[in-house]
């Protein structure tokens, strides 16, 4: 079932959590809301679920499959909601947790006890926890608890599945496993799903489309490929990976750098500062000698080789740090060592301007 929100705003006191946000979730897709904390992603999810009410505005609308659900209370919206901290009923067994939604139905639509038991059994199988039905949540690991929470949400056969940082409280290894599992599950059941996360790897890996949010607004919507390779704003560029920022410009397909400096924060070209060129570490190359007159001089500061690529940290003449990612072959070809002088040559880069966007490469 498709979801559409139009012109949704939400403030808590003086804090604006969402500012005039509109978004469409296609039928059967897995959409990720990605952003730093405070960007409004969880508020948007909770507004879709009905747990939060948007600010009153005649233009605002929430549609499930074209039908307005603004006046529909949470318990009739038929959404499955998975909480970051599981929110399992701790006094109930795993089986009772999963069957809760079915047991709460009015008598007319409530399945019989044996039907509920069958459905719970199937869901336990789906989350690979067969034989765990009689345990209590406190006897499960974090990853198991979150799978139970997911099964509990799926038991009522919701029309949409909403996941609020579902893997946020788990350690890295478990998170990776559950992420892959969730994607596989989605491919099996094709339930329209919205996943909130602040982890860009998670969003890029799991989702069909990613919505990047910042400061109560949507920055960009696109496939993981689009948002990673074609960011439309400095924020998206910065949030989805490491970035080097230089003072300079792109003219006639060439990058001209005024002053090679690197900033932690991408938003340096706001205001009066000179225009900035953005390049990801893998969009820079290192040469031992300046052959073409391009690039700038820097000294190798630190090497990080534990991984599929070589990560090189250099220091420019003005003291700024530059991150470069090279293939291991290229790295060994260059025979870099800390303290060695080299030239950093941009292969690709972007400038973001308010009016026109230019891209090289």
């Amino acid at each position: 079932m498709s979801i559409e929100v139009r012109h949704i705003s939400k403030s808590f006191g003086n804090f604006t959590a969402l500012h005039d946000v509109s978004l469409q979730v296609h039928d059967g897709e897995l959409l990720a809301l990605l952003g730093p904390s405070g960007s409004g992603k969880t508020t948007l999810l909770r507004i879709i679920s009905g747990l939060e009410v948007p600010d009153a505005n005649p233009d605002s609308e929430i549609l499930f499959h074209g039908q307005s659900v603004v006046d529909c209370p949470v318990r009739h919206r038929e959404v499955g909601f998975v909480f970051q901290h599981y929110a399992l009923f701790r006094h109930m067994s795993v089986a009772d947790n999963i069957g809760f939604g079915l047991r709460m139905r009015p008598r007319a639509t409530r399945p019989s006890k044996s039907e509920i038991r069958d459905r719970v059994g199937k869901l336990l199988k789906l989350i690979q926890l067969e034989g765990f039905g009689d345990r209590f949540p406190s006897q499960l690991s974090g990853g198991q608890r979150q799978r139970v929470a997911l099964a509990r949400a799926l038991a009522v056969e919701p029309k949409v599945l909403l996941l609020d940082e579902p893997f946020g409280a788990l350690d890295a290894k478990v998170r990776q496993g559950l992420r892959t599992w969730l994607r596989r599950l989605h491919d099996e059941i094709h339930l329209t799903s919205v996943l909130v996360t602040h982890d860009q790897d998670e969003a890029l890996e799991v989702a069909d489309r990613v919505v990047v949010m910042n400061q109560a607004r949507i920055e960009q919507v696109g496939t993981p490929d689009e948002v990673f390779h074609h960011p439309q704003t400095p924020f998206v560029m910065e949030f989805l990976g490491q970035v080097n920022v230089f003072h300079g410009r792109v003219s006639q397909g060439k990058i001209e750098l005024d002053d090679p400096f690197v900033s932690e924060h991408a938003n340096v070209n706001v205001g009066s500062s000179p225009p900035a060129v953005y390049a990801r570490p893998h969009e820079l190359d290192i040469q031992r000698e300046s052959t073409s007159g391009e690039g700038f001089y820097a000294t190798v500061k630190r090497l990080h080789l534990a991984g599929p690529i070589a990560r090189v940290l250099l220091e420019a003449e003005n003291g700024g740090d530059v991150q470069v990612h090279l293939s291991l072959e290229r790295f060994y070809e260059l025979a870099l060592q800390p303290g060695v002088a080299a030239f950093v040559v941009p292969k690709n880069g972007r400038v973001f301007e308010a009016a026109s966007k230019m891209k090289l490469g």
């Binding site: 949470v74 318990r75 919206r77 909480f83 701790r90 509990r152």
Partner: protein, 295 residues
């Protein structure tokens, strides 16, 4: 002092907080003798005095019609005030823990009022309100209703004095648990009543029991407030504590202590029940701790 001094005789490493032996011994001895002097001895005296003239006299004291009527009145007062305070305590806790509203901190303060006010003053409040010369006295009298120096006054005073017990036990627990489980129940289609009955209440049930036990003990034993409003009418408005006082003032020591021993027994039962419930609270709160390391 070197590190070797911190080792006990058995080679165990002593706690760095461990005090010298004589300090430990004297502290323990002091606490124990204090307990014996002020708790165990008086309790023993109650039973010794009650049984001084044999079991027959003891039994006669308890089964005396006025004693029996005091016992029945006490049970009636408990049967009314404890359930009412249970409902009130749950409602107040639910409101305070799950909602934000104006005047919330005032409500929390007001719940503690009966603890802060002397029971005698609590009783006087009701005399001033419902006594024949009080604010509503004449109006009540015109309807032929008597509150003060009658059973309704005793019930009202007891409710007033005991109403913090359940609320004070349940509020902190509900606040600590937050609202996430309730939100989960709502998204699963449960209505407000189902959410309360199947999710909220089971999560706080041992705290509720604990509050009820304490409330019950206080309702049975309340003297000050009840004494002011009851009028001490034998066989009519006397509760157990009031009856004990009357018997004692009449130098009827055996009967007085016999009836008092009932309250003492109640205290012992309350202690046992309280210990059992505390154990459950402890067990359930430790087993609810996450067992896995979560970052």
């Amino acid at each position: 002092m070197g590190f070797s001094n911190q080792r006990g005789s058995g080679g165990r490493i002593a706690s760095p907080l461990l005090e010298p032996r004589w300090v430990r011994w004297s502290l323990t001895a002091f606490s124990c003798s204090f307990l014996v002097l002020f708790l165990v001895v008086p309790l023993a005296v109650v039973f010794a005095e009650a049984l001084r003239k044999g079991v027959g006299a003891y039994w006669a004291g308890i089964t005396d019609p006025t004693a029996w009527s005091a016992i029945k009145l006490t049970l009636l007062v408990v049967a009314i005030s404890v359930p009412l305070n249970l409902v009130f305590g749950l409602a107040a806790s639910w409101a305070i823990a799950k909602f934000e509203f104006w005047g919330k901190s005032l409500l929390i303060t007001l719940i503690d009022l009966p603890f802060a006010v002397s029971p005698v003053v609590s009783g006087l409040i009701f005399v001033l309100l419902f006594g024949l010369h009080g604010w509503f006295g004449a109006w009540l009298d015109s309807w032929g209703l008597q509150v003060i120096f009658a059973v309704p006054g005793v019930v009202l005073a007891t409710i007033f004095v005991t109403f913090p017990f359940v609320a004070r036990e349940v509020i902190p627990l509900m606040q600590e648990q937050g609202t996430e489980q309730e939100q989960a129940a709502l998204t699963l289609g449960a209505n407000g009543w189902q959410t309360f009955w199947f999710v909220t209440l089971p999560n706080v049930r041992w705290a509720v029991w604990y509050g009820v036990i304490l409330c019950n003990a206080r309702a049975m034993g309340e003297f000050g407030a009840v004494s002011v409003v009851s009028g001490h009418i034998r066989g009519k408005t006397n509760t157990i504590p009031l009856h004990v006082e009357i018997l004692y003032n009449e130098y009827n020591f055996v009967a007085a202590f016999a009836v008092a021993s009932l309250l003492a027994l109640l205290a012992l039962v309350t202690l046992v029940a309280k210990a059992l419930v505390e154990r459950r609270i402890h067990l359930s709160s430790t087993s609810l701790e996450p067992t896995t390391v979560e970052s």
